[in-house]
C-alpha cells in the first residue's frame, strides 16, 4: 500500500476492508521513521500510541459518524496533543507535555483520525525557512539542500513526501501557505475565526489561524469540515455555520470571477513563477472562470505593517515563558529577575529574541503611536482594499512566494530579506481573509511553484472549489526526490 493515497481513497479502502486503520497508520509510521534521518520533519513519532488508537478504531462497530476513521495525520509541534510533546521548536519548552488537547485535536480524534507525530517548525512559528528550529531544520523533499519553507515546514515536508495524506500547521503570516508552495502541496489558511485556536500556542493573536496541508484539495476540505466552527474555549471563533466544503469542491467554475492583481506581480518576482501563474490564469479561463483585474493599492505596505503588528503581539504573548510554571528554567540565577532574564536568554533562539525586541520597541513609551497604531491604521486600509476587490471578484489569484525554495543559509543573516519572502502571504492574515496555496508547476530545477487564491471572509468553499477544479484539470502528479 502506498502512503501517497488521498484521505478519500484511504477511507474507501478501510470501509471495504482492503486495509485497516492499523495498516494505514503502520504504513505512515514506517515512512515517518524511515525518512526522518533525511528530512527531520518529525520531532516526535508516537508509534505505540498511534497503533493503540488505530486498533481501537478497527474494533469500532459503527464508523458512520467518523469521517476520518483510521486516517493518519501529523500535527505541528505548536498544537497541544495530550500525551505528546509541544516544543514549538524551542528549547524554552523542550519536552513540555501539555495536559490537554487543542480543540482541533479533540475534533480530529472524534472523527477517527490518528495522530502519528508532532512536526518540526521554526521556533514559535517565527520563520520562513525552518532554519529557526532549535532542533535543526526540516529538509525540502524535492531537494534536501533547500529549505522547506516555514514555519510549518515539517508538516509540509511530511505531506509532500507522502508520509501522511494530511497535516495541521498554523499560519500567522504565511506559515502554512508558504511551505506548502515550496514543498508542492495544498496549504489552506482559513478566515480569522473559522477554526479554534484553543491549544494552539499563541504567536500573533490577531493573525494566527490553524491551517491544513493536503495533497488533494478534497482532503483539505475533509479536514476543514472536521475542525471548523465555533468553540466556547476560543472567543475569537465566529458563530458562522460550517458549510459542506466537500460538496463545494464538486461545483464547476462557470461564472466564477477570478481577480488578478498584476500590480503585485512586478519587482522581485521570479520569471518562472510569473510564467506558472500566467499559465494558471489561462487554465482558469479554460475552466470557465472570468478573469478580472483588481488592485490592492496598500498591499505594498503589508510587510511593514505585518512586522510591526506580529512582533508587538509576539512580545506580549511570549512574556509567559519565564521559567516559573513550565518548560526550561536556567540554573544558578540568584534572584527572580535574574532567573527570568537568564531563562529567556538561554531558552530563546536569535530570531525569537529579535522579534521580541522589535515588538517591545514598537510598543514602548513614545513609539506606540508612531509604529503600532500607525500599522493598525494601514491595516484598516488594506482590509478596505480587499473588501473593494471582492465586490468585483469571488477570489484573487497571486503567486504564493516570489521564488521557489531557496538554499539553506542563503538569507539567514539578512532578516529583512527573509521577511520579504512573505510578501504575498501576510496580506491575508492582516485582512483576516482565507487563502490557499495550490501547486501549479515545477521550475527548471524541479522545484515546486505555488499559486495563492485569496477569498472573502468565509470564502473557504470557493477557494477549495477553485483548487479542486484546477487540480482535476491540471493534475500535479510529480513526486519529490525523497518520498515514501
Amino acid at each position: 500500500m502506498s502512503t501517497t493515497q488521498s484521505v478519500l481513497d484511504l477511507q474507501n479502502r478501510i470501509a471495504r476492508g482492503d486495509t485497516t486503520a492499523r495498516g494505514a497508520v503502520q504504513t505512515a509510521l514506517d515512512a515517518a521513521e524511515k525518512l526522518n534521518n533525511t528530512l527531520n520533519a518529525f520531532l516526535e513519532i508516537d508509534r505505540e500510541g498511534a497503533l493503540l488508537r488505530a486498533d481501537s478504531i478497527d474494533i469500532e462497530p459503527d464508523k458512520s459518524s467518523m469521517p476520518m476513521a483510521g486516517i493518519p495525520i501529523a500535527i505541528k509541534d505548536n498544537i497541544c496533543v495530550r500525551g505528546m510533546q509541544t516544543s514549538c521548536g524551542s528549547r524554552i519548552l523542550g519536552r513540555y507535555h501539555p495536559p490537554y488537547n487543542a480543540t482541533v485535536i479533540d475534533r480530529l480524534l472524534h472523527a477517527g483520525a490518528v495522530v502519528v507525530g508532532k512536526t518540526n517548525c521554526d521556533e514559535f512559528a517565527m520563520g520562513s525557512s525552518n532554519e529557526n528550529s532549535a532542533f535543526g531544520p526540516v529538509k525540502n523533499p524535492w531537494d534536501t539542500s533547500r529549505v522547506p519553507g516555514g514555519s510549518s515546514g515539517g508538516s509540509a515536508a511530511a505531506v509532500a513526501a507522502g508520509i501522511i495524506p494530511v497535516a495541521l500547521g498554523s499560519d500567522t503570516g504565511g506559515s502554512v501557505r508558504q511551505p506548502a508552495a515550496l514543498c508542492g502541496v495544498i496549504g489552506l489558511k482559513p478566515t480569522y475565526g473559522r477554526i479554534s485556536r484553543y491549544g494552539l500556542v499563541a504567536f500573533g493573536s490577531s493573525l494566527d489561524q490553524v491551517g491544513v496541508f493536503a495533497r488533494q484539495a478534497a482532503d483539505a476540505a475533509v479536514v476543514l469540515q472536521t475542525i471548523a466552527g465555533r468553540d466556547p474555549h476560543d472567543a475569537t471563533t465566529a458563530d458562522v455555520p460550517v458549510m459542506n466544503y466537500i460538496g463545494e469542491t464538486a461545483k464547476t467554475l462557470d461564472g466564477v470571477r477570478l481577480g488578478v492583481a498584476r500590480s503585485l506581480m512586478g519587482e522581485g518576482l521570479d520569471d518562472e513563477v510569473r510564467d506558472a501563474i500566467e499559465k494558471a490564469i489561462d487554465a482558469y479561463k479554460g475552466l470557465g472562470a472570468e478573469i478580472v483585474e483588481v488592485d490592492l493599492p496598500h498591499a505594498k505596505y503589508a510587510i511593514a505593517v505585518y512586522y510591526i503588528i506580529a512582533t508587538a503581539e509576539a512580545s506580549s504573548n511570549l512574556a509567559r515563558y519565564d521559567g516559573v510554571r513550565y518548560g526550561f528554567r536556567a540554573e544558578d540565577a540568584p534572584g527572580l529577575r535574574d532567573m527570568y532574564r537568564k531563562t529567556r536568554d538561554e531558552g530563546f533562539g536569535p530570531e525569537v529574541k529579535r522579534r521580541i525586541m522589535l515588538g517591545t520597541y514598537v510598543l514602548s513609551a513614545g513609539y506606540y503611536d508612531a509604529y503600532y497604531l500607525k500599522a493598525q491604521k494601514v491595516r484598516t486600509l488594506l482590509r478596505q482594499d480587499f473588501m473593494k476587490a471582492f465586490e468585483k471578484c469571488d477570489a484573487i489569484l497571486t503567486p504564493t512566494t516570489p521564488t521557489p525554495a531557496f538554499k539553506f543559509g542563503e538569507k539567514v543573516d539578512d532578516p529583512l530579506a527573509m521577511y520579504l519572502n512573505d510578501i504575498y502571504t501576510v496580506t491575508a492574515n492582516l485582512a483576516g481573509v482565507p487563502g490557499i496555496s495550490v501547486p501549479c508547476g515545477l521550475s527548471s530545477e524541479r522545484l515546486p511553484i505555488g499559486m495563492q487564491l485569496l477569498g472573502p471572509f468565509w470564502g473557504e468553499g470557493t477557494l477549495l472549489r477553485l483548487a479542486h477544479q484546477y487540480q482535476s484539470a491540471q493534475p500535479f502528479s510529480e513526486l519529490p526526490a525523497v518520498h515514501a
Binding site: D239, V324, G327, G335, M339, T360, V362, K377, V378, F457
Partner: protein, 99 residues
C-alpha cells in the same frame, strides 16, 4: 531611525532578555534596518482612518463570547504543577524576589 547598541540593551531590559555583547552587535544594525523599512508607513495618510485592532471579522464581532459566570472543571493543582521546573508544597517555587 538608527538603533544603537545602547538602545538594544534598553529594549532587552524591558523584554527581560539577558543578551550578550555579541548579540547586541548583531541585533543593532538588523533591527535598525527593519525599523527603517517599516517607517515607509509614514508616507500613508491615515488621518481619517480607524485602527484595525483585534482583527475580527464583522461576524466575529457579532458573536456572543461571554458565558454565565459559573464554576467549571479546571486542571487542578496536581496537573497544573506537573510540568513546573521547581514545584514545592503545592506551589511554584521561584528564586528570592527581594535582595
Amino acid at each position: 531611525m538608527p538603533i544603537t547598541e545602547a538602545d538594544i540593551e534598553k529594549i532587552a531590559q524591558l523584554a527581560h532578555l539577558d543578551i550578550t555583547a555579541d548579540e547586541r552587535r548583531m541585533f543593532a544594525p538588523q533591527i535598525s534596518e527593519i525599523v527603517t523599512y517599516v517607517e515607509q508607513l509614514d508616507a500613508v495618510d491615515t488621518s481619517t482612518v480607524e485602527p484595525a485592532l483585534g482583527g475580527l471579522t464583522p461576524e466575529g464581532e457579532r458573536t456572543e463570547s461571554s458565558r454565565p459566570d459559573e464554576l467549571q472543571p479546571s486542571l487542578g493543582q496536581k496537573l497544573a504543577l506537573d510540568q513546573a521546573p521547581d514545584p514545592a508544597a503545592g506551589h511554584f517555587r521561584v528564586p528570592r524576589v527581594l535582595a
